[in-house]
Every structure is written in C-alpha cells, then in structure tokens.
C-alpha cells in the first residue's frame, strides 16, 4: 500500500502545475452553474471574476513550474525532461495571454465554462509533454480535443460556430482514431506502451524483421498528428473552423494544437535506431519532407485567394505548419549550435506570440453584434483604430518574416538549419522555405495595404477592452523582444 501511495505521490510531483490547473477547472465547473439564474442570466461583470480566477490558477501553475526542476526520466507515467519543462513554460505563457484574449468573448453567463475549457486545454498540452506512456499521451491529446469542442461553441452559439464545432468534432475524432491505430501497431511491435520501453525495444532491433509494420505505425501516427499540425492534406478543416470560430478560439487553434502535435510527434517518432540502416525516423523523413513542402505551398497559394481575414489566417497557419515541419525534418542535423528541433521550438514560440497577437487584434475590433470578417472590414483601420493598426501591422510583418520582428529570427534559424543539414534534400527544403516566405509576403502585405492605403468603409468596434489590449501588448513585446534578444529564448531551448 505504501509503495502504491509513494508511486502516486512521485507521479503527481512531476505534474504539480497541471494539478493546479485542473483543480481550478473543477472549481469553475462546479461553481459556475450556481451563479447563473434559471433563465440563463448572470450578474453583469461576472466574466471579470472568472477571468481573474483563471489568471490566478495559471499563476499558481506558473509558480509551480518555476520552482520545478528537470528530473531524469523514470519508469513512472510522467516525465519532466527538458522538453516537458520548456513546453510547460511555453503553454502556460500562451495560456495567460489566451485567457486575456478570451476575457470578453463569452457573455457573463458562459464565461466561467469558457475559461475553464481553456485551462483544461493548457493542462492537456502540458500533459502531452509530460506523458511517459503512449496511452497517457493519447489521453492527454484528448484532454486538448474534448474541451476544444465545447470551447468552440461556448462563446457564440450561432450557426457558424455550430458548423465549425461539428466539423472540428468529426474530423478530430477521425484523426484520433488514426493516431490510435498507429499507436496500437507500435504496441504490437514492442509489447509495451511505455515510451522508454518502446525506445529500448526499437533500438534493440526487435522489430527489424517487420519493417512494414513499423512503417504503418509511423505513417498512421503522422497522419493522426498532422491533423493537429494542420499539415496538408489534413488541413481541410482549418479554414472553415477558423472562419466560424470565435477569435479567442481561433487564436488557440492556430497555436496550441501545433505545440501538442509537434511534441507528440517528437515523442513517438524521434527515436533513432542505431542498428541497421533504417529507423522509424529515416523511414518517415521523406514523407515528412513532402508534407512540409506541400504544406508550405498549399497554405501560401490558397491564402492568396482568400477574402475573409480568418480564412486567410487559417491558410497562413497551414503554411507556418509547413515552415515548422522543415525544422522537424532537419531533426538532429543542422548547424553545430542549432539543431532542427531547436529551430522548431524557437519558431513555435515566436509563432505563438505573433499568431495569438494577430487574432487578439481581431478580437479587439469585433463587437458583440459584428465581427471583422472580410478583408475589406480592415479598410482604413489606421485612421479609425491607429494603435491596433500598428500592432496588427507589426504581427503581420513578423508573420512575413521581416527584420525587426521575431519572425525574421525564427525563419532565419529554420533556413539556417535546413541549409546546413547536409545533403541536397535539406538545401532544397531551405530554398522552398525562402520561396514560400516570399510568396507569403504578398498576402500579408495586402492586409497592411488595406489598413493604411484605403479609406474606412465599415465601422469597427470602438469599445475599449483592456484585457485584450494587455494581451496585444504582451504579444507585441514578445515579438519585438525576441528579435532584439533572441538569446533569452535560446538559453531556455538549450536546456531541452
């Protein structure tokens, strides 16, 4: 009995921040229904309280994270290695900003559950990174997906939101099934669900007589996770869902699933098998290479044609998934100082700041009755909301990869590692990356042009939303700061 208890305690010790987050979630879910009348009305301003409560929950989690230390990987269900530590910090930071963006998105009566879903999603990302077992990994991924379904519908319940929720729901289940299928093969091959056990088994070459099974496992898992990364051809949901989803959810969807997807992909795939001339990664690298190139091109080319801001940003998110895949394909290779994974983590962090910032500006411009949807809604924004126009321009320049924004440094790293990874494949990848960065400039520039070089046509929201403005400020600071002092993030990444 004592052994069991101590095992549980050891396990929980590794996931204290998530425990704090989930405790906050439970508290909100339990308390929220009692604060809403039978007619579904709540005291005005209740959403502020939920917002503050979520911030407190996140702060406690962040505190627990800051005092946690990287532990050697054991046999328990969780691990706290460098990657888990880094991802936890990243997701808590983005969670903080997302709570601010989400502040006014739902009406008072539903704000509690909305914020709680968000916190559950953040906890899910942390657990993906902390899982030491493929079952745990899958459950953690579902802890992201299931609250997302509710999150999609909570703030707004119009037809568009319902449609996007349902689409996401169906396709997400489809992708989870695919992932699970691949995982079951992996289990069949290695006889264990424990990640370290799987690595050991693969490295021992037990599955070498069955390369086909390994292949199927790898492809299935890539396909299942590619949905979360919005990699082509598993990206189809993105534009529809982004278009219909509330801004805070779109901000979350453009970033959080990518974090979880890449971490999960790293956990299940990035194990090299020294014996023999093949490995799970070397089998899948050509596939991932093509996925990266296709994703970049399809994302950028289709973004050129969009007339809806959120659809365009969805395709932009697709293309950025392609850029990040470049880092993944390069993998351990790269320059002496930076590996592909390092560049990927750097870009992921930078992308989080700029994409959440972009959606936050859209949230700040929307009113309860009307959202910014068509690109022409941004016409003349520099005259009607100059501060927001400057911030949005800054984020778009960063997405473009222009100097003086973190996006430049991020793309530079990716380019550098791809170029130096050795071999033609890497250099071609670098060239395609550069070509796509050039194509991408075009449609971001279009938004900037509308904002600065046109006269206002439609009215945009004028109400002051302090929480969202703080979120925009934080994202701007991050985007600017990571250009000026990339060192800062590098030091954290070097710990991974």
């Amino acid at each position: 009995m004592n052994i069991v208890l101590s095992a549980i305690r050891n396990a929980v010790d590794l996931i204290l921040p998530e425990v704090a987050l989930l405790a906050t979630v439970c508290m909100i879910f339990l308390a929220a229904p009692f604060l809403v009348s039978e007619r579904g009305e709540a005291a005005p301003g209740l959403r502020h309280r939920w917002g503050w409560l979520s911030l407190i929950g996140l702060s406690v989690a962040a505190y627990l994270w800051s005092i946690s230390e990287i532990q050697p990987v054991g046999l328990g269900p969780f691990r706290l290695d460098g990657l888990a530590w880094f991802i936890r910090g990243l997701s808590l930071a983005s969670g903080l900003i997302l709570v601010l963006v989400n502040w006014n998105q739902a009406e008072d009566a539903r704000a509690g559950e909305t914020q709680a879903c968000l916190l559950a999603i953040i906890a899910g990302v942390n657990l993906v990174a902390a899982a030491n077992d493929i079952v745990g990994l899958f459950v953690a991924l579902e802890l992201i997906s299931i609250p997302t379904y509710i999150f999609l519908l909570m703030p707004r319940r119009d037809a568009l939101a319902q449609e996007s929720m349902l689409k996401y729901f169906m396709l997400s289940i489809f992708s989870s099934a695919t992932l699970l299928f691949g995982m079951s093969y992996l289990y069949g091959l290695t006889g264990t669900t424990h990640l370290e056990g799987i690595y050991a088994s693969l490295q021992a070459g037990q599955s070498q007589p069955m390369p086909l099974l390994v292949t199927i496992a790898a492809v299935m898992m890539i396909a299942g996770l590619a949905f979360r990364l919005t990699a082509v051809p598993f990206h189809f949901y993105a534009p529809d869902v982004f278009q219909g989803a509330p801004n805070s959810v779109a901000a979350m969807l453009s970033f959080i699933p990518k974090v979880a997807g890449f971490v999960a992909l790293y956990r299940v795939l990035a194990v090299t098998i020294p014996s023999g001339d093949w490995s799970m990664l070397s089998l899948s690298t050509p596939l991932l290479w093509w996925l990266a190139v296709l994703t970049m091109f399809v994302g950028n080319l289709l973004a050129l044609l969009q007339n809806d801001v959120r659809r365009m940003l969805a395709f932009s998110s697709v293309s950025h998934a392609g850029y990040m895949l470049v880092g993944f394909v390069v993998g351990d290779a790269g320059t002496k100082a930076i590996s592909g994974y390092d560049a990927l983590l750097f870009y992921l962090s930078v992308y989080g700041a700029m994409t959440i910032g972009t959606f936050a500006t859209l949230a700040a411009l929307s009113t309860s009755s009307r959202r910014v949807s068509a690109i022409s809604d941004l016409d003349g924004l520099s005259q009607t909301r100059p501060v927001i126009a400057i911030a949005l321009t800054f984020f778009l320049l960063s997405l473009m990869g222009m100097p003086f924004t973190a996006g430049f440094v991020g793309k530079l790293n990716l380019f550098l590692v791809a170029w130096n990874s050795g071999g033609d494949a890497g250099q071609w990848l670098a060239i395609w990356l550069a070509v796509n960065a050039a194509i991408g400039a075009w449609y971001y520039l279009r938004l900037i042009r509308e904002m600065y070089l046109s006269d206002p046509v439609t009215e945009v929201g004028q109400e002051q939303q302090p929480a969202v403005m703080v979120a925009i400020g934080l994202c701007t600071l991050a985007t600017m700061g990571l250009f000026m002092m990339p060192e800062w993030l590098w030091q954290a990444i070097q710990k991974v």
């Binding site: 037809a159 449609e163 349902l166 689409k167 169906m170 396709l171 489809f174 992708s175 086909l212 292949t215 199927i216 790898a218 492809v219 299935m220 396909a223 082509v232 051809p233 598993f234 189809f236 949901y237 529809d240 089998l283 899948s284 050509p286 596939l287 399809v298 080319l301 289709l302 050129l304 044609l305 320059t335 002496k336 100082a337 930076i338 222009m402 100097p403 003086f404 430049f408 440094v409 530079l412 380019f415 550098l416 170029w419 130096n420 670098a430 060239i431 550069a434 070509v435 050039a438 400039a441 075009w442 520039l445 042009r449 600065y452 070089l453 046109s454 000026m484 990339p486 060192e487 590098w490």
Partner: protein, 708 residues
C-alpha cells in the same frame, strides 16, 4: 573631448536620424505638425558633420602606407604595435580599432608585391545573436569605402530634407513624410555601417520597407499603391538571392563578419585554393540581391513606377542612395568577386544590358520624372559595367573598377539629385503635372529651376570638366583597359565598351531632349498651374543651388586630383594596383560623344519644337521604346499570370474536386448526412474522404519505398 568623439562619432551618424524619427512619431505628429522638418534637418546636420569627422579624422588613422614588402611584413609581425598606438583601446574594449594587418600572397609573378591591409573602425553596439558557434553582434564598422558612402548619403539627405520642407509644405501627411525619411536615412546609414552580412541584410530589408512606405505615400492614388507593391515584391526576389548568398558565405567561410572576411586575406585565399568554384556561386547570388535593389535588368521594372512617390523621395531613395546599395554591396564584396571572374563578367554584361535597355526606353518618355528614372537605371548599369570590368584581370583592374564605380555613384548622387529636385520644382510650379507634352518654354518663368536643371543635365550628359564627365570617362577607360587585356573575356569587353559609348551618346541625347522640351520652345503652361507659375521658394532654391554646385565641381576630387582614388585605395581587402593614368584619347572621345548627343537633341528639339499632342499615335519603334521594350507586359505573361494560375488551380481543386465529391456523397442519404445536412451539406464527409485519400497515398508511398 576629441578622444570621446573619436570613439563615438560612428554611432552618432545613424543614431541622430533615428532619434528624429522617434521624436516625430511620439511628439512631432501631435504638436506643431508643420514644424516636423526641424528635428530631421537638425539630426541630418549632425549626421553630416559626424560623417565628415569620421571621414577626415577617424578613418585615416587606420590607413597604412604601403611602400613595398618590407614595411608590410613588418606590420604583419607586429600587430601589437598598432594596438599600442591606440591607448584608448585598452580602456574601451568594445570600441577597438582593429589591428588586423596581414600579407596578401599574390598568385601571379609579382609575389614580392605585398601590402598591409588597412584597418577599419568598429563599434560594438551589443551581442545580438550568440548561440554556440554563431556570433552575430550588432557591429558598426567604417572604412574608407563606407565613410565616403556615408558622406554622400547624409549630405544628399540633408539637402533633400531642406528641399522637402518647402516642397511638401501643406501636405496632410507632413510629419509622416519626415518620420519615414528619417527612418530611411537611419536604415541606409546602418546598411553602410553594418559590420557583417546579416546585419546588412536586416537593413537591406529595412530600406526596402521605408521605400515601400514612401512610394505609397500618396496612397489615395491607386497607381502609387500598385507601384509600392510592385517595388516591394520585385525587391523580395532580389533579397531571396541575397540571403542565399549570405548563407552560402556562412557555410563556406564560417563567418559573416566583414572584418574577418576582408581584413584577413588568408581566409579567402585559403578557400580560393581548396574550392574556387564556390566563389562564382556566392558572388552570383549576392549579385542577384544587388540586381533587385539597384534595379538592374531583368528586375529594373520597379524603379520607373516608383516615381509615383513624392519627388524628394525619388531624388533621395530612388536616385541617390538606396538604389546604389547594390553597387555598394558588390564593391564591398570585391575581395570575393576577385576570385570569381565569371561572376564579374556577368555583372558587367547585366550592367551593359540594363544601361542599353534603359537608355533606349528613356529616349521617348514624356514624363520628365520617368526620363530621369530610366536614366538612373541606365547610370546604375554603368556602375555595374565598371565593377565587372575587373573580370579581364582581377589583380590589376579590381581596384580601378571599384574606385571608378564608386566614384560614378558619388557624382551621380549629386547630379541626379539636382535633376530630380529641379523636376520636382517644375512639378510644383505646374500644379503636379510632369508630362512634357503639357508645358514648354519654362526658361523665363522658372529661372532658378532652369539654371540648376541645366547644371545637372550637363553633368549627366558628360559635358567636359563637369562631374559626370570625369566619372564616366574613368569608367570608359577602365572598360577600354579591360578590352585590351589578353584575357579570354577581352572580346566581350570590347563589345561592352562599344555599348557604353553608345549609351553615353543616348544619355546626352535624352537628357537634352528633356531639357529642351521643358525649358525651351514656346511658353505653355497646363491649366493646373494657373497663369503665373512661381519658381522655387528659398527652402527649395538653396538645396538646388548647392547640389548644382556639387554637380559641377564634385568631379574634381577624382579626375584631375586623384584625391578620391587615394582615399578609396585604403579600403581593406582591395588589391593594390598601379595608378591609373588619365587617358586623353578617351577624354577626347567622350567629349565628342557628349557634344554630339547634345547637338542632336538641339537639332531635333532645341529650335522651338514642342512635343506632340498627348494623344498623338506613336510609330512602332517609338512605341517599342516608350513602353520599355514591353518588358512589363512580358513579365505579366510569363510570371504573374502563371503564378495566379497556380493559385487558381489549387482553388479549383478545392472547389471542383472536393465540392464535387461532396455533391456525390451527399446524394447517398446516409445517417450521418442527416445530422450534418443542416450544416453545409456534408462538406465534412468530403474533408474526411480527402484526408483518407491522403492517408492512403502516404501509406502506399512509404510502403512502396520500404518494399522496393
């Protein structure tokens, strides 16, 4: 005081305009908007003075007199002496004057001839990037070449800013204009001062962005917005090549630092021995960047359109400074290009084609600013022709090639700026009309403009003893020298030399065609000008006179006195060469050509002839020239449409294949369909189906790879 200045003057040059920009953004645009020019003029005055001080007091301290091998070897053995000679260095480790002096082994017979590399002044702002073996500091670095360029940039900027305070008076975007201009000067100075390739690239992009902002300044004009976009997109193509070149440099040499690359010749010669082919690739990629920024064929199409911006911007960015960044880049990288004669030949050929194409186009333009724009493109072509001339004999000709290209850039900045500003003055007086078919005979109405324009036009045409004459003459003579070598490229350079003579003739002709059409003939004003057009006010006249003075006399620093060349020779990394004698035959030839061109223009347009009516039909040859050899149309057909087509194709796939699939599956009244039908007719099935197809394709492909 002077010690402090010695150390710190270098950062004051870019910092002053940056401060001015920030001042306008945070204060100036809210209070006293009409005085927004003051901080900029003040800041630019500081920059000019700093640049002068840097050029005459700080940089010369780094020069090394080279009188032969003994001294050079001595310098190489005792670099510490140099360090000791600078006592401040120990106190300010971050502001070290680098003391890299080394012997450059020559490859051919004259192995004795060694020289100590000159040094440079550096200032470390902070360590930007420091990961593992990658160290990329924000490092300012000045040597002879950059200090000359800085002087040109800051002085022309100052004069243009003063001019603009009169020209832009009353514009609603007055503070915005000056903020963008200050930002531009900051970025340009940083580009010139950048101590490594990456920093240079950062500001290379930044000047492009400023140029975008300023071309689109009058964004209410759709043509201005379109031109801004075109400039940006075309420049991205060039930047793409530039960044590839930078990365190849990094992988080849392991450093992006100019100091290490250019002041320590062992690094480059080492690679030149082990992998000579790589130089051609690196240099060609870097040159692609230069082609974009300096508007060379085939990427020259953006520059004429960029004339949609306010005229002072055209004068500053699109004539005098930013567009010369490409020339500066190639000149800066001369130590690399030295080992890539083939790349140099390409540089020269592209320069020749550009010069010719642009000159042909300029012959028939009616928009005064477009004539000047094409002439800018053409003159930039001259500079590249000169740079490339070294291909014939890199050891001997590189220094002259670089010197003369930079010298032409220097003189060109002044006379082209005066031409543009005078054209701006015409536009100002004519109520924003610049088409020469609507006015003529402005000589009496606009005497100041007329006088200054004439100075600029004479200089551009290469009239004897004016600045353009000296610099163009030097370029012709270095091309001639290249064609007289025994290298296999000699024939190519004979042709390029002939082209340069032809272009020289056309230059004189189109410049004076524009001059005669504008200022001579019967006096006519467009309706927009009112009855009494007024000449330039003092704020505009002053800079015009000063620049005209420059256009006449600035050439004297190189032509007869060789001051310029002796200064530029001190650039680290440039090979030494024998002094270049003045070629009197060439001078006579170019005098004849210039006078012939002016004479032809006089014969055709000078005797009271006016331009045809705006709607008069053009002959086929004239139309060919007028439309810029139809290159824009060609690009539309070859590049823009296919790209658009590709995007359309993806969309069609999305719409046709996927939507069709939806339609077919929706025909099967499935259980799921009933749930989903209210929401967009079962699109999701379609999406899922495509995902399934994708998955199957991935599986089959990988399985086949494993099995096969």
């Amino acid at each position: 005081m002077f010690d402090w200045l010695q150390q710190n003057v270098i950062w004051m040059i870019p910092a002053a305009p940056l401060l001015a920009c920030l001042w306008i953004v945070f204060v100036g645009q809210f209070a006293r908007r009409e005085l927004a020019h003051r901080p900029v003029v003040l800041a630019l005055s500081v920059s000019v003075l700093s640049a002068l001080y840097l050029m005459f007091a700080v940089v010369p301290k780094t020069f090394v007199e080279h009188h032969g091998e003994a001294h050079a070897a001595h310098a190489e053995e005792h670099p510490a002496e140099h360090a000791a000679a600078e006592p401040e260095e120990a106190e300010h480790p971050s502001e070290a004057v680098s003391a890299l002096a080394a012997v450059e082994p020559s490859e051919e017979g004259h192995a004795e001839e060694t020289h100590a590399a000159a040094k440079s002044v550096t200032f470390l702002v902070y360590n930007w990037f420091d990961v593992g073996d990658m160290h990329i500091p924000v490092l300012l670095r000045a040597d002879a070449m950059s200090s000359l360029m800085l002087l040109m940039v800051t002085s022309v900027s100052l004069l243009v800013a003063i001019f603009a305070s009169g020209y832009m008076h009353g514009d609603p975007g007055y503070p915005r204009f000056f903020a963008a201009m200050a930002l531009f000067v900051f970025s340009m100075c940083m580009l010139v001062l950048a101590g490594n390739f990456l920093l240079m690239f950062v500001f290379w992009e930044a000047v492009g962005l400023c140029s975008y902002l300023l071309i689109g300044f009058w964004f209410h004009k759709p043509s201005a917005a379109a031109a801004a976009k075109k400039a940006f997109v075309v420049n991205r193509i060039g930047d793409f090549g530039f960044i590839l070149g930078v990365f190849l440099t990094w992988t080849t040499f392991g450093t992006l630092d100019f100091q290490q690359l250019f002041e320590d010749p062992t690094l480059i010669t080492g690679v030149a021995h082990s992998n000579p082919a790589i130089f051609t690739t690196i240099c060609l990629l870097l040159f692609v960047g230069a082609v974009g920024k300096s508007a060379q064929f085939p990427l020259h199409v953006w520059l004429p359109d960029a004339m949609e911006g306010p005229t002072p911007v055209s004068a500053l960015i699109h004539a005098a400074t930013m567009v010369t960044a490409g020339v500066y880049l190639v000149a800066r990288c001369a130590p690399l290009f030295m080992h890539a004669p083939l790349a140099l030949l390409v540089v020269s050929i592209i320069g020749a084609i550009t010069a010719l194409v642009a000159a042909i186009t300029a012959l028939t333009q009616y928009d005064l600013k477009r004539v000047l724009a094409y002439s800018t493109v053409s003159q930039l072509g001259y500079m590249f022709m000169s740079l490339g001339a070294a291909a014939a004999n890199p050891e001997h000709l590189m220094q002259h090639a670089v010197t003369f290209a930079m010298f032409h850039m220097f003189t060109h900045a002044y006379f082209k700026a005066v031409l543009f500003l005078a054209a701006g003055s015409v536009m100002h007086a004519m109520g924003d009309i610049i088409d020469m078919r609507y006015f003529s005979g402005l000589k009496k109405a606009l005497p100041i403009t007329h006088r200054t324009f004439l100075c600029g036009a004479l200089a551009l045409a290469g009239f004897p003893l004016l600045s353009g004459f000296w610099s163009k003459d030097e370029i012709l003579s270095v091309l001639f020298a290249a064609s007289r070598t025994s290298s296999p490229y000699a024939l190519a350079f004979s042709i390029i030399w002939a082209v340069s003579l032809l272009v020289s003739l056309m230059t004189a002709f189109y410049t004076f065609r524009a001059y005669f059409l504008t200022f001579h003939g019967p006096e006519r004003f467009p309706e927009a000008a009112g009855h009494h057009p007024h000449d330039a006010p003092p704020a505009m006249a002053g800079p015009l006179y000063l620049l005209a003075f420059g256009a006449i006399f600035v050439g004297l620093i190189a032509g007869p006195t060789h001051l310029y060349a002796h200064y530029l020779h001190q650039t680290p990394g440039l090979p030494t060469a024998d002094p270049h004698p003045m070629n009197l035959v060439m001078m006579g030839l170019s005098t004849v050509i210039a006078l012939a061109g002016i004479g032809m223009a006089y014969a055709l347009y000078g005797r009271g002839a006016t331009a045809p009516a705006p709607d008069a039909p053009l002959s086929p040859a004239a139309a060919f020239s007028y439309n810029g050899l139809y290159l824009d149309q060609l690009y539309l057909a070859l590049v823009v449409r296919p790209l658009r087509g590709l995007a359309k194709l993806s969309e069609t796939f999305d719409k046709q294949v996927i939507d069709r699939l939806v339609d077919t599956t929706a025909a099967i009244p499935a259980l799921v369909g009933a749930v989903i039908r209210p929401f967009q007719n079962g699109m999701v099935q379609n999406y899922a189906f495509i995902m399934l197809l994708g998955l199957a394709a991935c599986l089959m492909w990988v399985i086949q790879a494993v099995a096969g």
